[in-house]
């Protein structure tokens, strides 16, 4: 269907939805790299105007790709709920989403009438503050060994990576994070080596740490999901099954991932939890995504990176995940050129994930070959905390010594919780109080104050152990 807009006498025409969406996207290096970005700022705005007039029904009638991800998205759609909004335009949906009544509608099931393509279209006509304000009231609560996502909860993944997976190094990093009140979302290691034996050793070490401390949280070793499942078969304790996913069948193939494989993996992990203690819910998947991944494995099929990212969320929500995060800024300047593009993408990803009903977190990060720095990370972190982001990363001193990039630190996470008055997951906060790490909802004076604090922590450990 041809769509066109005339601006000050100049007419811009868009051949199809795919081209219209790509042209309407905010500037992204990956879309320029793919040769599908708007040719001028005028064209970008014209595309946004044309997009605002598109009826939501068109997104169902005109699929962008024919693959198994599109099939999954259509299967997930609540067609009765969709019937009530199909004649709305994208522009009308924006106003509805920003109205105070929307949260109630969304909670009553309207989220299942929204497709990834629709929420990605919507993001294109929203300002940064729109993206923050619309996302903030939407809460998705998930349960594994604790409860994430309640209003006012700002979770933190401890990311205790080590360049050679040294167990003592990993555990000490994790203990340091716990002393900052981090680790309620997950204690999750990216392994440097992906042998099954190595993954089993890490799984066991994290399990023992959580078990010994009686900490109400969950562990994860972020190897390829087939490796985690091989470890499970050999008896390793898997709390959360992790996988990086993309928004097209071709992207997932590039990652060695199939939808059926994910479904079987989820079932295997759920089954294993029946014979273990401490699980209070059946959200057992952890997914990571990021704008540009589809293009990086040449699996985008001509679809822009914001749409591909939203479609990855369409995949994620079919598996009832405990955690999902976009790793915004990880894969380099060819996809998000600088801190301006990273900040925009972080807010878009969070908004789109939330609107689709995901427990959405963000790895606010940058690599050293992109024009970004600690200041720009601080800025996006504070914005996301005000947007009600479910969780962020906690990396010692912000410096991931295995993946060689900078994310948010234990300090950052603790500081932002104090700044916006947010708290850890409720079960975890009670444990922090019990351990003397928190007093009155804040870090105790003794906690996280250098090596001496670790000895105090060890005392608490011993007390617990009796």
């Amino acid at each position: 269907m041809k769509r066109s807009v005339t601006l000050r006498g100049e007419t811009f025409a868009f051949a199809d939805l795919r081209q219209l969406l790509a042209s309407a996207n905010e500037p992204k290096a990956g879309d320029r790299l793919a040769g599908i970005a708007a040719a001028s700022e005028r064209e970008r705005v014209a595309a946004k105007m044309a997009l605002a007039d598109v009826a939501l029904g068109d997104f169902i009638e005109e699929p962008l790709l024919e693959d198994d991800v599109t099939g999954l998205i259509f299967d997930s759609l609540d067609r009765n709920a969709f019937a009530q909004i199909r004649s709305l335009t994208v522009g009308e949906l924006r106003e509805r989403v920003l109205s105070p009544e929307f949260v109630g509608e969304w909670e009553r099931g309207l989220k299942w009438a929204l497709t990834p393509e629709i929420v990605s279209a919507l993001a294109r006509i929203m300002s940064a503050r729109d993206l923050i304000s619309a996302a903030a009231p939407l809460r998705t609560i998930t349960r594994c060994r604790n409860t994430m996502g309640e209003r006012g909860v700002f979770g933190v993944r401890i990311q205790p990576n080590h360049p050679t997976d040294d167990i003592a190094g990993v555990l000490l990093s994790a203990l340091d994070g716990l002393m900052f009140g981090c680790g309620d979302a997950v204690i999750g290691v990216n392994p440097a080596g992906d042998s099954i034996e190595n993954v089993i050793a890490l799984e066991n070490a994290l399990h023992d740490l959580i078990d010994t401390l009686h900490a109400p949280t969950q562990s994860c070793v972020l190897a390829h999901y087939t490796t985690q499942l091989a470890a499970l078969e050999r008896g390793a304790p898997i709390d959360l099954l992790f996988q990086s996913i993309g928004g097209t069948e071709a992207t997932n193939a590039g990652f060695g991932v199939t939808l059926q494989g994910l479904a079987e993996g989820r079932a295997a992990v759920l089954d294993s939890h029946n014979s273990r203690n401490g699980f209070i819910g059946d959200n057992v998947m952890y997914f990571e995504t990021g704008q540009g991944t589809a293009l990086s494995v040449e699996g985008h099929g001509g679809v822009d990176q914001l749409t591909c990212e939203a479609r990855a969320y369409g995949v994620a929500r079919a598996f009832d995940p405990f955690l999902v995060n976009s790793v915004v800024g990880f894969i380099g300047p060819e996809y998000l050129a600088d801190s301006t593009e990273i900040m925009r993408a972080g807010l878009e990803d969070h908004f789109m994930g939330k609107l689709l009903g995901l427990p959405m977190g963000i790895d606010v990060c940058y690599t050293n070959h992109v024009d970004a720095n600690q200041d720009t990370t601080d800025q996006l972190l504070v914005l996301l905390a005000t947007a009600g982001c479910n969780f962020v990363m906690g990396v010692p001193g912000s410096d991931d010594v295995m993946l060689n990039y900078q994310s948010t630190s234990y300090h950052d996470a603790a500081g932002v919780r104090e700044l916006v008055g947010a708290r850890p997951a409720p079960e975890f906060e009670a444990w922090l109080q019990q351990m003397g790490i928190f007093i009155g909802g804040r870090l105790s004076e003794e906690s996280a104050n250098g090596p001496a604090s670790l000895r105090l922590f060890a005392d608490s450990l011993r007390a617990l152990d009796r």
């Binding site: 000490l172 990093s173 380099g332 050293n368 070959h369 996280a448 922590f457 450990l461 152990d465």
Partner: protein, 262 residues
């Protein structure tokens, strides 16, 4: 600490003051309120400055230590389609393709159809290549040859991305390609090398068909361990006739003759 605690946790807690013995991560660094102490704040800025500057370093086969490798192994340089560092950063597609005429050069200069073709790429850290490749290349060639594998003439690819392995595989029809490439500089080190491996790589292959040994640097994976793991992976490739995520690394990698029986 209680004796009932698992050994690994006791040792992690006991290590306390000497955290830097077990990890390069910035642990137990204290705080000012919930912020960094001033020394931490400024050290992070300094380390970022070093990493930024490392990106601009350049590598020449005419200067030490690469010139010694060039003399000894006949190392020569080829180009990708990325013509400048800026284009290399912005256009990964160009860094994944050999420049026009290079495939012919490779077929002329290197033996075709051999078992192991070693390639060196600058990647995002030329410093990693000059710091780590001298200690990896020679033992890798020696041990691969000692196993009876034919090893091709190594060469250097400037403005190199991992995907260029496909063009190299197509040009040389090698059974296995090993690409030693500089990782993007981190704060703790700007000198970390990766080895990407693929069995019979060719057009259309992705990371799903590749294996990786990363973090090769003195406080990460030692050059000796890296060589052992690379050889172990090639063993698995030859045995299984494939590479990629379906091939899992063994935790007991092949012993190197003369490597102290580790």
């Amino acid at each position: 600490m209680s004796d009932q605690l698992p050994e690994s946790i006791r040792s992690a807690v006991d290590v306390g003051d000497e955290a830097s013995n077990v990890t390069p991560a910035r642990l137990l660094i204290g705080r000012a309120g919930s912020a960094y102490r001033t020394s931490t704040q400024l050290q992070l800025r300094a380390d970022h400055a070093f990493a930024r500057d490392a990106l601009r370093a350049s590598l020449s086969l005419d200067a030490s230590p690469m010139s010694e490798l060039a003399d000894r192994f006949g190392l020569f340089e080829v180009a990708t389609q990325a013509e400048s560092h800026e284009e290399y950063l912005a256009r990964p597609d160009k860094g994944r393709r050999l420049a026009s005429g290079v495939a012919e050069t490779l077929r002329r200069e290197c033996p075709n159809g051999i078992d192991v073709q070693i390639v060196i790429g600058d990647g995002l850290s030329p410093l990693a290549v000059s710091a780590q490749v001298p200690a990896v290349l020679s033992p890798l060639i020696d041990h691969a040859t000692a196993r009876g594998w034919t090893v091709g003439r190594p060469f250097f690819v400037r403005h190199c991305r991992v995907g260029v392995m496909n063009d190299i595989g197509d040009a040389l029809d090698a059974q296995n390609v090993v690409l030693l490439i500089g990782e993007r500089p981190g704060l703790a080190t700007a000198e970390s090398l990766s080895a990407y491996l693929a069995h019979r790589p060719g057009a259309g292959d992705t990371d799903a068909q590749r294996n990786l040994v990363s973090n090769i640097h003195p406080s990460g994976v030692s050059s000796e361990d890296a060589v052992r793991r690379i050889l172990g992976l090639i063993d698995s490739f030859m045995l299984q006739g494939r590479s990629g995520f379906m091939v899992k690394e063994s935790a007991q990698p092949t012993t190197l003759p003369g490597a102290g029986g580790r």
